[in-house]
């Protein structure tokens, strides 16, 4: 802080005071801004620019300072690759299911907790637990619970007669993705629940009362009053869940490493294995760029939808 202070006041203190307008000089905001901006420039913007550059080159992890410019070759190659198209499809499935189920479950739980009852505060706090748990710990306990021989999930599924043959859920191309989805959603639904709960509590009670008095049924009241008022929050959550799911790494990496046979390989997993297993930094960066472009399209699309909805509301 003292360094900042000195930068800001080159002259003796009294001098600045005399001169000082109530808002400080026009440089004042930049003095506050500069340290953080420099920091983000060095650790985020410059590395990102390097990644953009890498995506147009052929560069090996073993010799990373030597890059050959190849133009759009990396992009042409990955889009021509059947495995990459499968990766895109899996990413799409993963993101859409996460968004829909996490927001849907969140809404259901929020509605459940919205009515006053004794112990609601405690219930609300306990529901938050999965979201607070570190991803590493979640992956670890999920792997143990899904253990083919001693895992509680297999024991339970066997008891109710739905056991997976052999029990190796995470080794099964069919069940690995659903297992990862359940784990992800388990960690996400507390967040959507708590956010939607505070949105529900901001719904003006007189509106719902008025609707009920007009003889509206519960479903109609929900659609006409509650849903209208929480719609922006639902939109925001859907956007957040999309972006978070597009960049989620450690949970999937630790549970399956994208396997078996690519069945759980999302874009981020693909880019990590391209970089560190195949040692192809160029194609890894290209995969990353595809992910970023998808995120940007989703953000732009959501702004468009939000604006259209706003115009309609007027």
């Amino acid at each position: 802080m003292t360094a900042l202070e000195q930068q800001q006041l080159p002259g003796p203190r009294s001098g600045t005071r005399r001169r000082g307008s109530p808002l400080g000089s026009k440089w004042t905001p930049y003095f506050f801004l500069a340290p953080a901006a420099l920091f983000i420039l060095v650790f985020q913007v410059v590395p990102l620019a390097q990644e953009v550059f890498l995506s147009f080159t052929r560069t090996s992890l073993l010799n990373p300072t030597h890059s050959t410019w190849v133009g759009f070759d990396n992009f042409a190659r990955i889009f021509g690759d059947e495995d990459f198209r499968r990766t895109l499809l899996i990413t799409l499935v993963y993101v859409v299911v996460c968004v829909v189920v996490a927001v849907g479950t969140g809404l259901a739980v929020a509605l459940l907790l919205n009515k006053g009852f004794r112990g609601r505060g405690l219930a609300r706090a306990l529901v938050t637990i999965p979201w607070a748990a570190p991803g590493i710990a979640v992956a670890l306990i999920a792997i143990w619970m899904l253990n083919p021989d001693y895992g509680i999930v297999n024991r339970f599924l066997d008891t109710i007669g739905l056991g997976v043959p052999g029990g190796a859920i995470l080794d099964s191309p069919r069940y690995a993705l659903p297992a990862i989805l359940v784990t992800t959603i388990w960690q996400l639904f507390p967040f959507t629940s708590v956010v939607l709960l505070s949105a529900l509590q901001a719904v003006p009670p007189h509106l719902t009362e008025a609707a009920t008095m007009d003889g509206a049924g519960r479903w109609w009241t929900f659609r006409a009053v509650t849903w209208q008022s929480i719609k922006p929050t639902v939109g925001l959550l859907a956007l957040l869940m999309t972006i978070w799911s597009l960049r989620r790494f450690e949970l999937i990496w630790l549970m399956t490493k994208g396997g078996p046979v690519g069945a759980t390989e999302t874009l981020v997993i693909d880019l990590y294995s391209q970089a560190f297993d195949s040692k192809q930094l160029g194609s890894a960066a290209a995969v990353g760029m595809v992910g970023i472009v998808i995120s940007l399209i989703v953000i732009a699309g959501s702004r468009f939808v939000a604006r259209a909805a706003e115009r309609e509301a007027r």
């Binding site: 930049y30 637990i129 999965p130 981020v268 880019l271």
Partner: protein, 276 residues
């Protein structure tokens, strides 16, 4: 006849079911840590903790490795908290109280960086760290974690400062107080709840972080708990009870702190993101 209690009963069952689903996996982690070998592999699963096995927690800590991991995590997380808040307060203040050229760009960059996957940034950051001799050090992880959590910290603090009245600040300024003094003496004490929330977010962002820690640190004695615990996966040497005990000690602080400040955290996260 319609029974008035049916709705209530269904609600209670629903709430209990949700709570069960939310709590069970961590409960199971605890139970597994406290299950003796013979029962662990028995055909009937033991469903309640056996507290006579409590020594597993003490043994895990006494053995030393886990203690080192947790201490490393603590150093990284505390450093990240201090650095990101130290940089985030002035940045949030500048964004909240001043209009200046480039403000839109700064805001867009802050929102944009939040969607960058860590896995994408590992490669260029590794090169950067090698050049500046930051590899294999806790300080390097503090720097990178701060950079990743700074945008959300700054946006939350900006929102909090937006909510403060300008009058006090302006009168202090008219009395000749310098902008930095105004910020530290007047604004910072008033946004204490948001500071607590951002501190928890920053602390546990670094506490939980895995990708950078596993890539940038090689010396086992410098590994944080996230890496140590992840290394248990697929390794057969360590008893599952120890694995679960260490994981539980790694998880419990995050859960307890979030429970205390969850209201502010949720408000801050949504407020910080709303502008996106």
């Amino acid at each position: 006849m319609r029974l008035p209690h049916v709705g209530l009963t269904l609600r209670i069952i629903g709430v209990l079911l949700v709570l069960g689903v939310a709590v069970f996996p961590l409960y199971w982690m605890f139970v597994t840590a406290l299950t003796g070998d013979s029962e662990l592999f028995a055909s009937e699963a033991r469903l309640v903790p056996d507290f006579s096995q409590f020594g597993v927690f003490i043994d895990a800590l006494a053995e030393g490795k886990a203690t080192t991991w947790l201490l490393n995590s603590l150093v990284i997380a505390a450093g990240t908290t201090i650095l990101s808040i130290g940089l985030g307060i002035p940045l949030g203040y500048a964004l909240s109280r001043f209009s200046f050229r480039g403000k839109v760009i700064v805001t867009v960059v802050l929102l944009f960086t939040q969607m960058l996957p860590e896995a994408l940034m590992v490669v260029p950051l590794f090169a950067l760290f090698r050049r500046f001799d930051l590899l294999d050090s806790l300080g390097g992880l503090i720097l990178v974690n701060s950079a990743f959590v700074l945008p959300i910290v700054a946006l939350i603090l900006k929102g909090a400062i937006d909510g403060l009245p300008r009058e006090v600040e302006e009168s202090a300024r008219v009395d000749g107080a310098r902008p930095l003094t105004v910020l530290l003496r007047i604004n910072v004490p008033l946004i204490a709840p948001s500071l607590a929330a951002t501190a928890v977010i920053a602390f546990f962002h670094a506490w939980n972080e895995y990708v950078f820690a596993v890539t940038f640190v090689f010396t086992p004695g410098l590994q944080p708990a996230s890496v140590g615990i992840a290394n248990f996966i697929g390794e057969l040497g360590t008893p599952i009870q120890t694995v679960m005990a260490v994981s539980f000690m790694f998880t419990a602080p995050a859960v307890v702190f979030y429970l205390f400040v969850q209201k502010y955290v949720v408000a801050g996260m949504t407020a910080g993101a709303v502008k996106g």
